[in-house]
Symmetry: D2
Subunit: 294 residues, 4 copies
């Protein structure tokens, strides 16, 4: 009988842990949950039948899943759990982490007999709630197959390469999100300044070659409505674009667009605010152009 | 009984004219077709039952549709047809034209009693063949409704604003296509240099927030296959991005990403070749990074 | 005995006109001066012995020098002087004008028998006061030689090409100023964030290959002192960079750095304020990086 | 009586070592010299009265100066000299190194009782030959004062901060060189395409606000002459710009211009060739614009 634990009950982690807890209960076991602000763990237990425990106790799980803001928080938790982990267990890190951190984290856990998989997720809060997240995993096939049945939040789980490849693909995906979103904001700002109706323009673009997830979903739902619901922070998207640029740097690549967009998102996070929704980057585009996307 | 004419039988224009001809025949009339290389008009007539005519004779049509490389060619044809047009007719320009050209062209035709609509199309050769193009139109509603039933190549026809708005939306759509394509090329180049499998990465991205038409269709079909089928030339996409940048300039806008990407596509058109498929812009990304997207 | 007139008594024009007036007086004639805010003309007359006149009276001068914010103001003044100009006279426009405007303005004046030279100046208020401006002139050699002795504000006067070339070189010079300034701001911001002393860094850079007018003069005098004296407005530098980008557009050139920097200066003019000194563009660099250049 | 050693006799190192040797001889001692291609050391000894020795013997010097392509080569040499260094000696690294490497190298040497100063130089081959290099040093004041009298190649020696600050300033200086050079190339390409004479344009710019070391020296001497003498490689300048971008990354800074220019130089190094002179980056600007700077 397998014990599972979930570390980090944020906007993504909380519904992910709920799916884990629901599946575990089918086998009659509890999912251990932990969160830095411990009240969130207790609330999760009350609502989803998981079990809130101190951090060190989660070390006794056979499968630990973490979903934290950055690799720095994962490193910290790894340090606190040193000496408390169970040999033979597997740690699946769903954080949007740094590819440089993964081999280091894997080595650190291997010394304790624990496997490590980098397994960030995509799909946002909606897919987390419906249990249909896309999980991109870096690591050995065999280890992935061991944990696959237990990742109840996954709609699709794809191995993308060796340790670190999961983090790498996630960073690049989010860098593309950042580019596509910013460019669409620029394009719409310019169309607006030329007197074009933005909703009609989006309808056309979404039936045309320039369409992307940002024109199809994010901009109509979050920007044109002026809602900017803060489900994924601007500071976190700037962080992810920065990971992609670090990857460019480490191979001495030439990626002028990703480089520029990373600079612009860092500027937006500082000027608009890191806690705003990531789509609020377009508020900086608006300021730069003296216009409003509406 | 309405006579229609179609000017410009390129990769897009030829199947568009075929749909026009098919619908006209239902009413027992021929669609006049003209092309600079006149043999293409004769071949079209033979294959699709249109009627190849000298340019000046097309001026007697009630509805003229043009689909030429740039607004410069439209201006030239307008000049040659001066004095040969029929008052009360409508000219629908499906060229990916310049918003600055539209009011000038409209005025020039109005002096001859002819209406003008800018009506570029999107969807590529495939949608042209299936008659499901998206048409984005700038101009008065009433004029648009007059021609709507006759544009047999249209799947969707959307009015996006006044004269010039059609060209404007098309230019911005194609600028977004250019940005999304280039950024995806950068991202994949970097992933490849980090040893990640590009097909798996695309599968993940296409189930995630970074997806766009370029990751879903163009890159898997044209780039990873190394086919780069030349259906839409790199020089033409550079031209369209340039129109978008002209629009930025005319309102003194701030669009650093569109500006940069325009510069990169002009460079790509010069270094890789303007006749190559637009997706071959990624061959410059490959050269810049010393890698191949495969 | 030659009559001269000077239109536009701003920060640059006022001392330039003073030099013209001083030299004219040697021949016993007055320099006519005009300014939109007419009190500035009267004050100039009182202080420098020029003669303040209504605009139309300046049309009787043999040599008219204009120094206005943009080519739009020159066009306006040209319109108001239509029918009031003296055949055989020469108009020297020292405005940082648009190369596209020059041939049009020359033609318009030629119809009235008046020659036109585009002749923007460089050196700033200091060189205007000392009468040592660099004047870059576009137009025929013979016409340039006619006016050369009378341009008392010129330290150096160089013919750079045909009509429009003066404006073109000025725009590119100012675009390079904009690039060099912004990049130096970025570099110093990063050094500061790494704990390096900025004055020492500037000393080194100014003895090294990365030096420019901006590191040698502008940044130590205006930025590190936090004075940002508004002698040349940020909005005007953004305008000049925009002229350079228009020149890129008109030849379909590929200038990714000038394109990007133009976008950034337009953003800075909107976010920091167009009336601030041009060096205050670095306040946006500071905001983008959460640091202060001090 | 102090023994000095010089490691790395490239285009810069060779004349620097010659100055060291000349000054040492005044005190009756030889300067030890070493180079990977040892024949260059022997030739140096023959020509300048230095003494060519195997690498390990240089470890007995009281002052070791290194001038190698990158920090990677310094790390390698440090490894080979491990156990052969003299406690109490000082190592001065004139390589254009990486700020991240400096603290590590200092620590590694401190374990052996050896001090470390990062001390890159600026001024190029000319200043190396005349012994008038600018030396920018990171490290403790006292250590700097110890070595100051012995660095015979220095015209100016400035402490810019703690360990690593020398490398940092050098990287930023070279990034500014890269930006200023590229932008000037863009500007001149555009002026040329507009029919402006480039020499006249440079004369004006060099008397104006857009001037920099690149317009005053590099472009007239190396580019317009088409000589591109390979004294400082394009690959090395791309490397230095990359170090500056790494510094941006490590503080999560926003430097869109340095980021973009780094990408362009890496592209230029790959497309034009890393061994070409750094000014040959403008050959890529030429290709991108279909023009020649002449």
């Amino acid at each position: 009988m397998m014990t599972t634990a979930f570390l980090g009950l944020g906007a993504m982690g909380s519904p992910m842990a709920a799916h884990m807890a629901a599946r575990s209960r089918e086998s009659g076991v509890s999912t251990l949950v932990w969160n830095r602000t411990f009240g969130k763990a207790e609330a999760h237990a009350a609502q989803h039948g998981s079990r809130a425990t101190p951090l060190v106790e989660t070390g006794q799980a056979d499968l630990i899943v973490s979903c934290l803001p950055t690799s720095a928080e994962v490193d910290e938790v790894l340090g606190q759990l040193r000496g408390h982990l169970k040999a033979g267990s597997v740690w699946v890190d769903c954080t949007s982490g740094h590819p440089d951190a993964a081999p280091r984290q894997r080595e650190r856990l291997q010394e304790q007999g624990v496997a490590f998989l980098d397994a960030p997720v995509s799909g946002g809060v909606t897919a987390a709630q419906s249990g249909t997240l896309t999980v991109m995993v870096g690591g050995p096939d065999a280890e992935i197959e061991t944990v696959r049945p237990h990742l109840a939040f996954a709609g699709t789980l794809i191995r993308v390469g060796d340790t670190g490849a999961g983090f790498a693909v996630k960073a690049v995906n989010n860098a593309l999100l950042a580019v596509n979103l910013w460019a669409a904001g620029e394009g719409l700002a310019i169309l607006g300044l030329h007197g074009v109706n933005l909703s009609a323009a989006l309808d056309v673009i979404n039936a045309s070659s320039g369409r992307s997830n940002t024109t199809q979903n994010l901009i109509p739902q979050r920007v044109l409505t002026r809602e900017f619901p803060a489900t994924f922070g601007l500071g976190l998207l700037a962080k992810d674009a920065g990971i992609a640029l670090d990857m460019v740097e480490s191979v001495r690549g030439s990626a002028p667009v990703i480089a520029q967009v990373t600079a612009l998102y860092r500027a937006a996070a500082r000027i608009v605010g890191p806690q705003e929704d990531h789509t609020a980057a377009l508020k900086l585009v608006e300021q730069m152009n003296g216009t409003v996307l509406a």
